[in-house]
Symmetry: C2
Subunit: 335 residues, 2 copies
């Protein structure tokens, strides 16, 4: 039953999570192949107590591989996924390269596991900010049909990779020390003690003024939910948080659903943990969700500005459920 | 023409701004009386090159005072505003004590200056997060009539006072140093490298699950705009930013208004600076707005999820336009 697994982008923020989660979930790994750019080749990483050496990614890297987990950016996926498929692997791709392709399933196992079977060698893993939102909203959609979503995000810097985490920490230290000479490499503006209404950090903006991250939330949500009638608008914002994305989500439903009903529904939904006790100041928070698997939901309130509206606060670990965990859950379903 | 001015809460975050702004705007101050709690009495503060000694606030503090600027919390305002009125002063009160009283005007000079004349000794200064939103939305409301607002905020810690600024800085330093023993005094949870969907930091939650800050945005907006038909829902979030609040605002209008029209309108609106050039990564940011008077608006986009919707990103200095500056602008109109 054990299979050969390759990780493309093994030394990145999501790559590291892939290794940890394969290990902790006892994924049936026969051989593990860690792949990365030439620059990272030779690096040592541990999996289940054994040291592995990272190899340079080439077109020949996928010989004998059954499952290839990709998280090294769109251009790498576009170039190497075809070689992996040719070698007989099924790819779970965390980049945006194939997400909106009609013949590529875009899957969150709690939402549309049935789509996995339709794959032709590659299954796309959705964007982090989309995954946590649809896990929380699908149970509500099934019962009350969501007509419209207005979402504003509070996204951590780890969504931009390990270098972004480092940049936030160094810029924060520089500002605390009263210095004024910090050299930014990644973010277009100060991220320490600031919030940036721009994701990603370069080539973000489209003709209509939206960022690509915002459009991902709109388009991917419709595809995963399998309902193109849902209307969505998003504002995505980078915040000086190391890990986990938070989201302020407003929904309008076709059928009335009360706060009590939403709570009851989410309390029993797979992949969701309800954290909603305002009297005791209990609601989901990034430092709490970090390293955990679930999507945490709280601050559930009736939106009194419309007849059938609900506000929610949704927090999840962007590197786990938002990326590596979701991909590995897909791989588990594949086997 | 010069008048005697008292500042109640002179040593607080807003109190310090009162002094700076009175000076920079050359407000016609004859005598300045700095008032605070017994604990702060005796402290020295400078105004126009002269050293002033902070006096303890008592019921007799307002003798001869023409304008009393209050920013020392609701209970102080409730207790001392009547004495100030009795002494013949007109009070501009930055607390929430009287804001929703029917016979107390709640004023943003760019929006409803006409309400100032209706005062009976006290004019309420709105909540910081409300002020910047209505300054940006009023010109749009006048042209296209706003039917509904969905707002999520990114509010800086200075809104919770100077001690909150100190707590964020100390907690941040502690986390960067890898320590795990920081003793919080103000915030209910970690604020460094985190976002907190709770404002204020204690006694925040009402029966319906909303915080008092969220309800302020709903109720104050209607009163200032003089239009109780506007439907509003808010989620207010504290972010690890020192100064300036940012807001993701979604509006639905009765009449269609295009992005180009909104830009043109806001570019000529008093108190607003348009900063909306996504191609060059130009949009409003907290560190830029700090210390400035205007409300900065950018990321203006058509909300494609409805027929007549617009998204905006609104940033302003919560201690200036959100508090001290707005109060002093009211006082200027009073004179």
């Amino acid at each position: 039953m054990a299979v050969n697994v390759a990780i493309v982008g093994a030394t990145g923020a999501v790559g590291e999570e892939f290794i940890r989660i394969l290990e902790s979930r006892k994924f049936p790994v026969k051989e593990l192949r860690l792949l990365a750019s030439k620059r990272s080749a030779g690096k040592k990483m541990r999996f289940c107590g054994v040291e592995y050496t990272v190899q340079e990614l080439t077109r020949h890297s996928f010989q004998g591989i059954k499952i290839a987990l990709f998280s090294a950016g769109s251009s790498i996926s576009k170039e190497y996924v075809p070689y992996a498929i040719e070698s007989g692997a099924v790819c779970v791709d965390n980049s945006s390269a194939f997400r909106m392709d009609d013949d590529v399933p875009l899957v969150v196992p709690e939402v549309n596991p049935q789509d996995i079977a339709k794959h032709h060698g590659v299954i796309a893993n959705p964007n982090c900010s989309t995954i946590q939102m649809v896990v929380a909203l699908k149970p509500i959609h099934d019962v009350a049909k969501i007509k419209r979503i207005v979402v504003s995000t509070y996204q951590s810097v780890s969504g931009a990779g390990l270098k972004a985490v480092d940049e936030l920490q160094r810029e924060t230290a520089s500002i605390l020390a009263g210095k004024n000479d910090f050299q930014r490499k990644l973010f277009p503006h100060q991220i320490a003690f600031n919030v940036l209404p721009q994701i990603p950090q370069s080539n973000a903006f489209l003709q209509n003024g939206y960022t690509s991250e915002e459009l991902k939330m709109v388009n991917e949500t419709k595809k995963i939910m399998g309902d193109h009638s849902i209307r969505i608008t998003a504002t995505t914002v980078r915040v000086p948080v190391l890990r986990c994305h938070s989201e302020s989500v407003n929904i309008e439903t076709e059928k009335k659903i009360t706060v009590a009903e939403v709570r009851k529904l989410l309390a029993k939904s797979p992949g969701v943990t309800l954290m909603d006790d305002p009297a005791n100041q209990v609601y989901p928070l990034a430092p709490f969700a970090a390293g955990k698997d679930d999507v945490f939901v709280g601050r559930i309130r009736e939106d009194e500005s419309i007849d059938k509206g609900i506000n929610l606060w949704i927090v999840s670990d962007n590197l786990r459920k938002g990326a590596a965990l979701n991909a590995i859950q897909i791989a588990e379903k594949l086997l």
